[in-house]
Symmetry: C2
């Protein structure tokens, strides 16, 4: 991809106002023509959701450096779809999503709007990378990881990505990462997921909370392991959820 002027689409799930989005646009600056198309409002936990049966609007915002900036009144996946349908002058060469405020390692990829946008780009045949910093605060310091983010972008520009493969990059917080490790996503689950309240009428309602539990704390080849060691994790991931190795063994049970 390195021989022409690239068109780079940047999106996120924390919304067009998020500092992580601006940090990612700064990391990509100078690597091509950049257009930012991000959700108008925060969309954490929106996964690959699309807006069905409702109108979507596109709004222009002040430039970030030399990048034009738009918001969409929908999800991260809506942003990628509408960017490609109507906002961008042509198909982008690269899609970057983030930098997310908080981890998308382990099982969290399933719920991640940041990675929903990445999967959408990947299914459209465009090299797509999501970045997440393990720090929820809007005041998180993205500068310590900027060289690493920039370096990963350069590698993807130089080498591309295989068909139907995207990257989920997670970055430890509060330190300059020791390096980066290509690895798999840890299996895990969330526990104590809801806090229960009583409304003024005495009826219960519930609010999502919870803690991620790594089901494989002994494994040394997972993103959770490398993040705990101070490295960024680079997980090659795919939108094709077929469990291909299971087809032959399950066919005798289910074919009829």
């Amino acid at each position: 991809m390195a021989d022409k002027r690239l068109l780079i689409l940047i999106t996120n799930d924390d919304g067009v106002q998020a500092p992580g989005l601006r940090s990612l646009a700064e990391c990509a600056a100078g690597k091509g023509d950049i257009v930012v198309v991000a959700p108008e409002r925060p969309q954490s936990g929106m996964s690959s959701a699309i807006t069905v049966g409702q109108a979507l609007k596109v709004n222009a915002h002040p430039d970030m450096g030399s990048a034009r900036v738009f918001s969409v009144t929908g999800t991260p996946t809506d942003c990628v779809k509408l960017a490609m349908h109507t906002i961008l002058p042509r198909r982008p060469d690269l899609i970057l999503s983030g930098v997310n405020h908080g981890s998308n390692a382990g099982t969290s990829i399933t719920y991640s709007g940041t990675m929903g946008a990445v999967m959408e780009g990947c299914m459209a045949g465009i090299p797509s990378v999501g970045f997440s910093l393990l720090h929820h605060s809007l005041k998180a310091d993205f500068s310590l990881s900027a060289p690493l983010v920039s370096g990963i972008i350069d590698t993807v520009i130089a080498h591309g990505l295989p068909d139907f493969v995207a990257l989920n990059v997670n970055i430890p917080a509060l330190i300059a990462p020791k390096g980066a490790k290509t690895c798999r996503a840890a299996h895990g689950y969330w526990t104590d997921e809801y806090q229960r309240y009583l409304d003024p009428s005495g009826d219960p309602f519930y609010w999502l909370t919870g803690k991620f539990v790594n089901s494989e704390p002994e494994a040394t080849d997972t993103d959770e392991y490398w993040l705990a060691q101070g490295y960024a994790s680079v997980v090659p991931c795919t939108p094709d959820q077929t469990a291909a190795t299971q087809i032959a063994s399950m066919a005798p049970l289910f074919d009829r």
Copy 2:
């Protein structure tokens, strides 16, 4: 699983009022104690979205046969999480989602709230199956496929499912399926995805539409192929999106 009284959780993404939900509850009747926990409103296209930073409420509805019925003011994934956290008396033995009004074959699994609920159950270690009928109408006839749905439920009850593997079952419309075939999800994409309108002020807005294009029309091992032949497709699928075969070849590029 066949030796004890089963607890079966049923959910969907079309909402607690959808005929497909009632059809699935009828297909499962007699196979265990059934509890229905479905979204209060239609949640098509919600993928694995979770409700973040907002209250969720649980409401009771009239029984469906002998099944107790609840709605949750959130997504299909919220339904599974809240069911397991607070509604069900214990962990369910089986989670069924659907019957969806419309296809979740091919790439559509990515956006499907029906399959979001299934993936949530699978990550929690519970055998989970999604059913979808290739007919969008609320008047779709689910009776032609009821024997097949019932048979697949029986097979899963008898044999279980491997760890981190769930099933995505799609069913042709308007006919009694010729049978069922275990297969992979077809790769494809959506085209002509938005219709553009002008609001009363003359500003544009966009509404999702589009057609699914099968990228592999020649392949004879995909769900799209078998559905076109009049068979139900059974795709083993996994919430683990790691592209495991890519790790070794990508590590030299990204490790640092």
